[in-house]
Amino acid sequence: MSEANVAATVSAGSGRRRPSLAILGVVPFFVFAAAFLIVPTGLLVVGAFQDAEGGLTLANISKLFSPSILSAYAISLEISAASALGGAVVGFFLAKAIVSGGLPAWVRPAVTTFSGVASNFAGVPLAFAFLATLGRTGLVTWALMEWFGVNLYATGFKLLSFTGLTLTYLYFQIPLMVLILTPALEGLKKEWGEAASILGASSLQYWRMIAFPVLWPSLLGATLLLFANAFGAVATAYALTGSSLNIVTILLYAQIRGDVLHDQNLGYALALGMIVITGLANVGYIWLRAWAERWVK
């Protein structure tokens, strides 16, 4: 039975008669959501517009534009954008390869299963894995030196940097892209490709003129989701860099721990800024997904 059918059956049932009592059934859920999700977040938003005495002010918001905080946001935005774009591009080619690449049947479940695991393999262990790989004594660092005579660290590479963190984030960003994009790629009808090739289109022309115009809202939407995903990440960066890299989640972490900004309300404003950025990314994602669904059915 489809969802629409269930909904139709259900609304035709007894629910209509006593909506006032039926609503009681979802009270526990909304109480929980209010107590542990909505009100706590709301309190931070309110706090962002208050001074230390509780009076209304915009001073906290304007203090966000001080150079040190602005640079924290900037580095976070850059890393999130770079890892989202990188994850989107690589993830797209990987998803395309397993959906329509003509590979043996075992490849696809292998890749999607691994993607499910890798997209959840974030946080502290991921940082350890990259330290063991690309750290100063890491295997790849050693192999490059031993086999190719390339001293990675002499080239200015550092794991505790923009490049290093982006490379590490890709480990959960690419699999996430594969998981989100696979259904969208499946929505591309086989007939479109066949029709295009009968009319003499090359593979490139097919992608540029048919598949991409249909796919781009899904692609862009998924990229925004990846962006939000990276923007809120704390543990990987913290375990990898300690507090040496000035990204906004690390700054907020230090602020919650020990009020490093010496201003509680500025801390709330910092959190508000994060909510606004991830919120915009998600609104964009939802909007684009609704657009994409008009085409890919």
Binding site: V10, T41, V117, N120, G123, A196
Partner: protein, 260 residues
């Protein structure tokens, strides 16, 4: 359309190298503790460490508590919304997706502001209170996954007919839920549960900021002070994640086989 599989193979091969190399490197590194020979020394030390055992056990219990509380909150709600309040479904769905919009660090910041020792409900005053708070915090984090698994499972069964059948046989609401609905969506619940387990077991931000002795902060502490043990721990964490999500896929496959 001319189809060459070379590009596809190249994509998969590059992906495989990027994804397998760090695992290989980590594993190799974890074996290097004794000079000159490969050994499982780092694993022996880690597994024998009482702090490892205590923090891992703590996180396992926390994960189980999260799964139970999450199931108790999500299942009746999803069931009730499908049965009686279909118009409310988008609202409930939106709320369950909020934890993907609001970063975890912001949620825990909010909890610390709302439930600190000067607040009306000072949960952070006692260890037990903080454990309750962190469990509820993890339930919010698992909400998107738990709700989606349960709601999809409910969509696959005929909720209205099952409920009517149960009621005409004299079952109470509670009995319908526990004896009819729960068993029918077991697979969905399990898949949500395994994903929740994978998320909670190594979670760092909540545990660290609420000062609870969980596995995530333990990992971070070892990482800051030791050389080879972190690599062994990373491998252990990867195996645990793999096991949890592998079981989830298995349950999902079993469910698909049943519905077919």
């Amino acid at each position: 359309m001319k189809r060459s599989t070379f590009g596809s193979w190249a994509s998969v091969a590059i992906g495989a190298i990027y994804f397998l190399l760090p695992l290989l490197a980590t594993f190799e590194f974890s074996l290097r503790m004794k000079r000159g020979v490969y050994s499982f020394e780092a694993y022996r030390i880690v597994l024998g460490d009482v702090h490892f055992q205590a923090s891992f056990l703590y996180s396992v219990v926390l994960a189980l508590a999260t799964i139970i509380v999450g199931a108790i909150i999500v299942t009746p709600t999803a069931y009730w919304v499908r049965l009686k309040l279909p118009k409310l479904r988008p609202v409930v769905e939106f709320v369950t997706l909020l934890p993907l919009v609001v970063p975890a660090i912001v949620i825990v910041f909010g909890h610390l502001r709302m439930y600190n020792s000067q607040s009306l409900l000072p949960l952070t005053d006692s260890n037990f209170g903080t454990d309750v708070l962190i469990t509820f915090g993890y339930v919010t984090l698992s909400l998107p996954y738990m709700y989606r698994s349960v709601d999809t499972a409910l969509g696959a069964i005929d909720v209205a007919t099952l409920t009517e059948a149960a009621e005409s046989l004299g079952a109470s609401r509670f009995q319908t839920l526990t004896r009819v609905i729960f068993p029918n969506i077991r697979a969905g619940l399990l898949s949500g549960a395994f994903l929740t387990f994978a998320i909670v077991i190594g979670e760092f931000t909540f545990a660290s900021l609420l000062n609870r002795p969980a596995f995530g902060p333990y990992l971070q502490l070892v990482g800051a002070n030791r050389a080879y043990e972190p690599a062994a721990l990373a491998i252990i964490a990867f195996v645990v994640t793999w096991a949890a999500l592998g079981l989830m896929q298995l349950v999902g496959a079993a469910r698909r086989a049943v519905t077919k």
